[in-house]
């Protein structure tokens, strides 16, 4: 009876083994080797690559990346929750509203970032608009700074936050909300005492879906941050192409993966599965 199941599951399992498990193992090994003369890896074994991660030279990068990812996550949840609430309460048109959220998300992250480049640059729409209205005389430096990167992250990942929260809200038993009102709770109290606590799994899923990719973001900071904002992703790219330092890159990757796995367990234990 389960023979079919075994056959069906094999291709995916093999693929995962080859493309996730094996590479992870390789990276693990690389991270404790030394940098080779021509950019490869060679003995001796060392843990100095991990040591470099707490080097003050790179420390700033990690702190900034974590801070930015945390800020993006917080903003996405704060902005996303009311929208998810709106869609869940919209009755017949919820499919339409959901599509409107999903649509920008799937149409090319790269292009959406470019759209903000177009808007924020010195000769872009926002600056020329403000100038022609006489509100400013010099263009505001809206692009190529940390703020622009944060904007790009929130813009990019907001749908990732809305969807899991909406999924939890939709599955909420409406009679619980009626019961709360029946027992004397005003609408705001119903929200804080019943809806929000029961939404916790969705919010947790949203948090991890925004935080981890934000932590490792590369193109957002490259396009919107200019050379001023170096995050973990840029560091990896840097060390990769110019320094060809595989062991260091591997060490950073392992740390990022560990962070992702830890957060994943923290969220999944309390909540429902996305899969």
């Amino acid at each position: 009876m389960t023979r079919l199941r075994t056959i069906f599951v094999t291709p995916a399992a093999v693929l995962m083994l080859v493309t996730i498990v094996v590479p992870a193992a390789i990276i693990c090994v690389y991270s404790v080797l030394s940098r080779g003369a021509y950019g490869g890896v060679e003995l001796p074994w060392t843990i100095e690559n991990y040591g470099r991660l707490i080097d003050p030279l790179y420390g700033g990068i990690f702190v900034r990346s974590v801070g930015l990812a945390a800020a993006a996550t917080a903003l996405c949840i704060l902005l996303g929750f009311p929208l998810a609430l709106f869609i869940a309460q919209s009755g017949a048109r919820r499919n339409l509203y959901l599509s409107l959220v999903i649509l920008p998300f799937w149409t090319s992250f790269l292009i959406r970032l470019y759209a903000w480049m177009f808007l924020l640059r010195d000769t872009g729409l926002i600056n020329t608009g403000l100038q022609s209205l006489g509100l400013i005389h010099q263009p505001l430096p809206l692009l190529y700074n940390t703020g622009a990167v944060l904007l790009g992250l929130v813009y990019g990942f907001l749908p990732f936050a809305v969807l899991p929260i909406y999924a939890t809200l939709e599955r909420l038993d409406k009679s619980l909300l009626e019961a709360a009102a029946d027992l004397g709770a005003r609408p705001l109290a119903v929200l804080t005492r019943v809806t929000l606590p029961l939404c916790a799994p969705g919010i947790g899923a949203a948090a991890i879906l925004v935080f981890v990719p934000s932590l490792g973001t590369y193109i957002t900071s490259d396009l919107l941050g200019g050379s001023k904002t170096i995050l973990i992703g840029n560091l990896v790219q840097n060390q990769f192409t110019t320094a060809r330092d595989w062991p260091f890159v591997a060490a950073i990757s392992i740390v990022l993966m560990i962070v992702a796995v830890m957060l994943m367990f923290a969220v999944r234990r309390r909540g429902e599965e996305l899969l």
Binding site: M1, L4, R5, F8, V9, A12, L15, M16, I20, V22, P23, A24, L79, P82, L83, L85, F86, Y97, S99, L100, V101, L103, P104, W106, S108, F109, L110, I111, R112, Y114, A115, F118, L119, R121, T123, T128, L158, P159, I208, L209, V212, G216, Y218, I219, D222, L223, G233, V236, Q237, F240, W246, S253, L256, A260, L263, M264, R268, E273, L274, L275
Partner: protein, 252 residues
Amino acid sequence: MKRGLEVYAIAIYAFLHLPLLILAIFSVNASRFTAWQGFSLHWYQAMFADRDLLESAGNSLAIAVASTALSTVIGTLAAYALWRRASNWLAGGLYLSLVTPEIVTGVSLLALFQWAFRYVDFRLGMHTVILAHVSFSIAYVVVVVLARLRGFDPALEEAAQDLGATEFTAFRRVTLPYLAPAVAAAAMLAFTISIDDYVITSLVAGVDSQTLPMVIYAMARRGVSPVLNAVSTTIVVLLGTLVLLSERLRRA
């Protein structure tokens, strides 16, 4: 509170959609500057005249078709297997692939390929890109198909077997037709993910195969250009239509 939410929703939707709409408007601006100087399609003409652009678009299309076909099949079968009996390992691995930053996935795949190429006479190229795309698309396919399976009554398959069908026949004649909309939706999703991917592709593509995102990225880094506006608008419209179709199917 309801009115407040409505106003808020309008604001957020504006935030999400206006930048792309503005880009689309300016893609038909005759002037290359922000000032409006009349309607013109010559940026689109320039776009079609750019050979590198067209070649990379062709590459992206080929890669997307191949990786979509593979990931949809593998992902659908995996989703069905997971539905029959949960597997923490498989589910966890798929979730991990969803959540891992792209740069980590790209770096580790590159490490895999470079290590493998010491023993096999291969180089980076379209095939490595396709493999990479299949690997990260599967999780999305599984999510979509599994969601549809959650609404399926297992008794239907049992009934089919009771009437003489083998396990596989029951799957093929009862479950698969039910899954068809979700599978189609998942395929379109996998397609859009593949077309759009930059980070992982750029790491594993090698020198011969340029994909569309890679070309777009290079252009974007050089700064804003009206041809890029035209390219962007075209892609957004095409992918957007595909995604809308996919959503329509998923809810059929």
